[in-house]
Subunit: 226 residues, 2 copies
């Protein structure tokens, strides 16, 4: 392979990893602000979002240039289009972290509703899914990507559990409604981060195997006689 | 231009329009079920989602093949990568319609909470945004795409308004909490459809002008002395 092209692909990979690091930092910071009840910690998230928006455009441009100038085929083509998709997913993870910080700011205006255990737990799982999704991209590791898909259910379950608990709060004491609602929104933000990590893992599997796992095979109608 | 390639691009355009039609049908059907209070109408949405999942894979494959075999540059390259992105957005609109039908099924298990006026209004705006976003793609019409971006605020405002109204409901009468919560989730589903339409419009502007509008220029730090 052209050595220069090889360098460019490596650079693209590194940029995507920086983007991933930024996304994780944003999620951690949002949880920190929430658990320590220090809304001032949320401020940093907006700075990182600006950084992320730049990286997003930069990576998209780099991919377009690679497609136009290198005219890649097969593996490289898939790598670059997967990179474009992963780039979009990561940018949306950043948006979710911003949403968490906005919801968090509202939440911290009132006294604590309940000790936050499940929300940071959801964040940990989602964050690890993201990390492993990107790792699986870099290492082209299908097994790791598959393990990400499996963990998405865990996040959803935690969210459902929390949802039911908060509903009970709200029904028994209407003064908790606003805060409970905000926690539900935060849980949904985390759920969506898990969804983005899942999308990344699916893109990786597609990239490596050239097979589409984005819609379960079981849903596909069979041709007659097959 | 190679006439066969021209045909392939036209075919891609048509497939994306079919995908868009399907997305709109799903939104309308979800609203129909909700307003007429006939959950049976939601069933059709799952069938359409299966159809949509197929189209999603088909379009993605078609784009990859065009990139690999035609090795397009400039305008065509941008058209195809925009197509890939729009394809993903539309698939997610379908997911939101499915979510609305699931939330709607829950909602219709209990008596009516309030006449549904704002929710179908949000759906109408979001659906028109989607239509115009796709139209702007086909016609490469930047002005139309820009008008889509402007309408996103309308959807968000309607959602905030509804959110406040439902909060009042919940606080004054705890028996409304579950239903109010479900309506809030549906409003958020519609808000996300508006977001996807916005993403499409941004992709179109980028495709036509080669300029990135995805992150507002005002947010960009300036280089010193510029």
């Amino acid at each position: 392979m052209d050595r220069h092209f090889d360098e460019e692909l490596k650079e693209l990979k590194e940029k995507l990893l920086s983007m991933g690091n930024l996304a994780e930092k944003m999620i951690n910071q949002a949880m920190d602000g929430l658990v320590k009840r220090e809304p001032i910690l949320f401020n940093q998230i907006n700075n990182w979002e600006n950084e992320m928006n730049f990286l997003h455009i930069e990576i998209d441009d780099a991919c377009l240039k690679l497609l136009a100038l290198r005219q890649p085929t097969a593996t490289d083509l898939r790598f670059i289009t997967a990179g474009m998709k992963i780039n979009s997913e990561l940018e949306r993870v950043g948006d979710q972290a911003v949403n968490i910080s906005q919801n968090g700011t509202e939440y911290l205006k009132e006294p604590q509703l309940k000790p936050l255990i499940d929300i940071p737990r959801m964040a940990n799982i989602a964050s690890k899914m993201l990390q492993d999704g990107l790792d699986s991209f870099v290492r082209k590791d299908v097994e790791l990507a598959k393990s990400v898909l499996e963990r998405d259910d865990e996040v959803d379950e935690l969210k459902d559990q929390l949802f039911r608990e908060l509903l009970t709060f709200m029904i028994s004491d209407p003064t908790t409604i606003k805060r409970a609602l905000t926690l539900i929104l935060i849980a949904r933000n985390l759920e969506r981060i898990g969804d983005h990590a899942t999308n990344i893992a699916e893109d990786v599997i597609f990239m490596v195997l050239g097979k589409d796992v984005r819609h379960h095979a079981a849903e596909k109608p069979r041709s007659p006689g097959v």
